[in-house]
Symmetry: C2
Subunit: 170 residues, 2 copies
């Protein structure tokens, strides 16, 4: 792994386990765990990067603490909204976030998401594991096109952190 270049490091890896109903998302960022943790927990920052570029995010509630709740929506230009909600089981500063996640259009399809911030010495590896109730539900999530939104969100997060090597970061 020591030979990967900066571009490879920034690749978002999305793996659907063949045997488990999980999606494993891994990405490295050129910033410290505390900066990544803030970007994942401060709603004023989350709203700037989470999700695909073409959608506008609106956060109604974002209590990123153990026992807190969240609710937000992504809006198309034509006004169509996709709402999401869940609760934070645990928010452990600079280390770990465990939360539930459900799309309003399919409220019984609840997944459990665990995000871990790993200090690589100046850089941070962020790993999110989404655990779903069945392999079918997981495959439907993959087919929904979530991968593009995740990748674009990570690129926007690079821009927000000011760590995008060649781009339009402010």
């Amino acid at each position: 792994m020591s030979s990967v270049n900066a571009s490879d490091r920034r690749e978002t890896r999305i793996v659907a386990d063949p045997a488990l109903p999980t999606i494993l998302i891994t990405r490295e960022f050129d910033a410290s765990p505390d900066r990544l943790f803030r970007a994942y927990t401060d709603p004023d920052l989350v709203v700037q990067w989470l999700g695909p570029r073409r959608l506008t995010m609106r956060i109604d509630v974002y209590e990123a603490r153990s026992g807190g709740s969240y609710r937000y929506a992504h809006r198309e230009d034509d006004g169509t909204e996709y709402g999401f909600r869940g609760v934070f089981h645990e928010v452990r500063r600079d280390e770990r976030i465990v939360q539930t996640f459900a799309y309003d259009g399919f409220p019984d399809g609840v997944s459990l998401e665990t995000t871990v911030f790993e200090d690589l010495g100046g850089r941070t590896r962020v790993t999110t594991t989404s655990l779903m109730g069945s392999v079918e539900a997981r495959d439907a999530m993959i087919r929904s096109g979530m991968q593009r939104g995740v990748r674009e969100g990570h690129e926007r997060l690079d821009e927000l952190l000011g760590t995008r090597p060649s781009g339009n970061a402010g």
Copy 2:
């Protein structure tokens, strides 16, 4: 299924899926869904039946509503305590409860538990699915002896509901 007798109906079925990291617990009770729902959500009732007979339950927090939290402990006679905590993703009256669950001794081993109350016409089938992060974690949960505690809890719930056919219900 129409030929099962009352005793069979009251059997607690605990199934570990060979392919998924889940434990499926099914039990029928001779009471209506709204009575079962109350027994699962009112802390004054929960404290009377949840868990094995030999342990004493203490509830610190039990906010059985969407977005609420819970924390409780089971205590041995010698004072040893086993603490548990989680959050309620959704509490849908008389129908469905989705919550996270973790043992204080292993706080990173978070499971997602979905309990469904199914109206059988006077009786209720209660199904709880526990979804864990790995088959190994699931197998460890089975080995922990949880099955006896679950079965005894269901018997105590029969007694609390006053529906135990031949027993020492008050």
